[in-house]
């Protein structure tokens, strides 16, 4: 394993993760007001109504697929009787369908963003960078799957990439497992790391506040004005006198 591999597969993941976590903490503390989806539905909804659900539901399935493929060890799935072939079939079929939905949705959304005047005007440079990274990551991921399974004879990433992914979280990064993976998988992982590093500073933050609590909270919310009467607690050094 050379120095480049160490940098890419044993150092960069921690840099990306650190920025991801601390970035979100910082953003949440400093910029709650900017924490929004910044929806453009007001300007245009015909294309959005097709593209957005297609993309979002697609990417949610893709996310679940990544959890299944990267987080759950091969030995576990085999222990419950899901063999390599069955897993592979399910992963490829589900992954391809979800991947194609995601790509199609993203294509519609990007087309919409570029061609619909008001939507394009409301697009910041930050958004453009985010879109480029997101599209690149998704394209590389789909390409890796397609190339490995359709053109090649299939690649069992669960013996190389997945253990590497988990080893990062055990704090014993096994970079050499990743260094041997096909180039498209490595590029996909690299692009994802960059995406995770810019994530907290883009509109992607809305993912972390997906409103699942809505399912259980009471419909009508009451709040006392005393909690936060249009203000926040005084900053350090600005506490009023006569108060311990």
């Amino acid at each position: 394993m050379n120095a480049l591999d160490v940098t890419l597969w044993a150092v960069a993941p921690y840099v990306a993760l650190t920025i991801f976590v601390l970035g979100h903490v910082w953003r949440y503390r400093y910029d709650k007001f900017g924490w929004t989806t910044r929806s453009s539905q007001m300007y245009e909804s015909r294309l959005l109504r097709i593209g957005s659900p297609l993309f979002h539901f697609g990417i949610l399935v893709v996310l679940l697929g990544h959890v299944g493929g990267l987080v759950i060890p091969k030995s576990w799935t085999e222990a419950v009787g899901v063999g390599e072939h069955a897993y592979h079939l399910a992963a490829v079929v589900l992954g391809t369908v979800a991947g194609l939905c995601t790509v199609a949705g993203l294509a519609i959304l990007i087309y919409r963003r570029r061609t619909v005047g008001p939507v394009f005007t409301a697009t910041t440079r930050n958004d453009k960078l985010m879109y480029a990274l997101l599209a690149l990551t998704i394209a590389l991921g789909l390409a890796a799957t397609v190339v490995a399974n359709v053109i090649g004879g299939g690649y069992d990433y669960r013996t190389t990439i997945s253990p590497w992914f988990r080893s990062v979280f055990y704090l014993q990064p096994k970079g050499d497992w990743m260094a041997g993976a096909p180039i498209l998988f490595r590029l996909h992982a690299l692009s994802a790391m960059v995406l995770f590093a810019v994530w907290p500073f883009t509109r992607l933050v809305h993912m972390l506040t997906a409103p699942v609590g809505y399912l259980t909270r009471p419909y009508i919310v009451y709040r006392s004005r005393d909690d936060r009467a249009g203000s926040r607690p005084p900053r350090r050094g600005w506490e009023p006198a006569g108060r311990p």
Binding site: D31, T36, Q41, I220, Y222
Partner: protein
Amino acid sequence: MRVMAQLAMVMNLDKCIGCHTCSVTCKQAWTNRAGTEYVWFNNVETRPGQGYPRTYQDQDKWKGGWELNRRGRLRLRAGGRLKKLLTIFANPLMPSIGDYYEPWTYDYDRLFSAPVTEDTPVARPRSLITGEPTKIKWSANWDDDLAGAPELAPADPVLRKLSDQVKLEFEQAFMFYLPRICEHCLNPSCVASCPSGAMYKRSEDGIVLVDQDRCRGWRMCVTGCPYKKVYFNHRTGKAEKCTFCYPRVEVGIPTVCSETCVGRLRYIGLVLYDADRVAEAASTPDEKALYEAQKSVMLDPRDPEVIAAARASGIPEDWLEAAANSPIHKLIFDYGVALPLHPEYRTMPMVWYIPPLSPMVDVLRETGHDGERAGNLFGAIDALRIPVGYLAELFSAGDPEPVRAVLRRLAAMRSYMRGINLAGERDESIPAAVGLKGDQIEEMYRLLAIAPYGERYVIPKAHAEEGARLEELATGCSLDYDGGPGMGGPFGEASGPPAPVAVENFHALRERQVADDLDRADELRGRVNLLNWDGKGTPDGLFPKRKDKS
């Protein structure tokens, strides 16, 4: 019984001249910002007309408010929690900018920069959404004063509920203005629709607000509100709505729309209600019974039992006193002339209206009758099916009886007071015919016609003992202007914690507004900047001058 206090408003439609002063001053105060160009927290619509946004009252289309499910329980019309989350990626029921209108400005610079030619330069309209030259096709009050009514008014959802024959006559018969703000409902469907839990009803005064820090821009509140009074700021990606001018009412001064109303038609006061009974009342099966159901939730502030329960729930004494003197309670209960707007949406709205009698008077006068005689007016109210039907669709879910009862009382007031003023006689048969007493009619006349400031607005101050904490701190960055280097994403104007509302300014404003003499205005100019004060002596203006002892 869980007693809660609610700040409520009543608008007397007879006095509205459709001048839009309330809308304009509200816009200047609250929505003159990028992203809210199309937003009017207060708007005035001509009725019959399509309203703003267009046809918002058509709940078959927009699905705002609540409905009863098969088991008779309340359910959001646009769908329950799961459906909301499943449609979160593209809300199918959200109005587009075209349903409101595309805001615009003019190319004013052309007037100065155009070269000298024979033709006068023209400032062309430019869309504030795209920045491109645009054609102005609609606005928040495009059909003002029935402009284009033959074409536009038939699309009025309220009118469409009446029969065809009624429609035609109606368009010839009468028109009135309907000023609208957020209803600050007791059972707010916008709050219930918010997936993030960012919207809330303040437990002290019932004002419905959006927590800008918690709003994530899912846009479900816009759909949930049947009055379409929650707006999406397309620049910041957050929901915004009428705040009942909370920084003003907290220090006891009326909202901007009320303060500037030239017709003096708005009333603000407290209402006490039983929060435990709201859901039950809102699920009343018969839509036409909802008006009475909502009245039954509101409590009598002079009832000792209610007062004891209110004290138990921590409502301060001065608030109880304000509730007892509330013009809102008088108009709804003592005089029985105020009605809620669209009770059939089951949100229990808290901005009520006194329906207009003047259209009836006009019709009578045009047909050569004495439009102010009690007998004629009572007859007209019973006979003029169309205006009453239309008002009933607005204010009592289509039941004409409450509207008739209100109009009769207003008619009785007119002719009784005319008798006093012209003939000097009190015809007690007139008030008796509408179930009131002569002195009640005179009190009502005082409140409705003379409408003294102190009686129109009975607003208790919020208990802001921590007020000092809220004082303005210079937290803004001078580079954060629109389009400036500080703009965009987590780093610009739309970033960082919001600057606190300067309560001190509002206190100063109140001082000025309730002062009897003009001189006091100068006094505020002499304030001292403490940063420049060397700490020696007490310069003029360091303390506000003492009010006169008298």
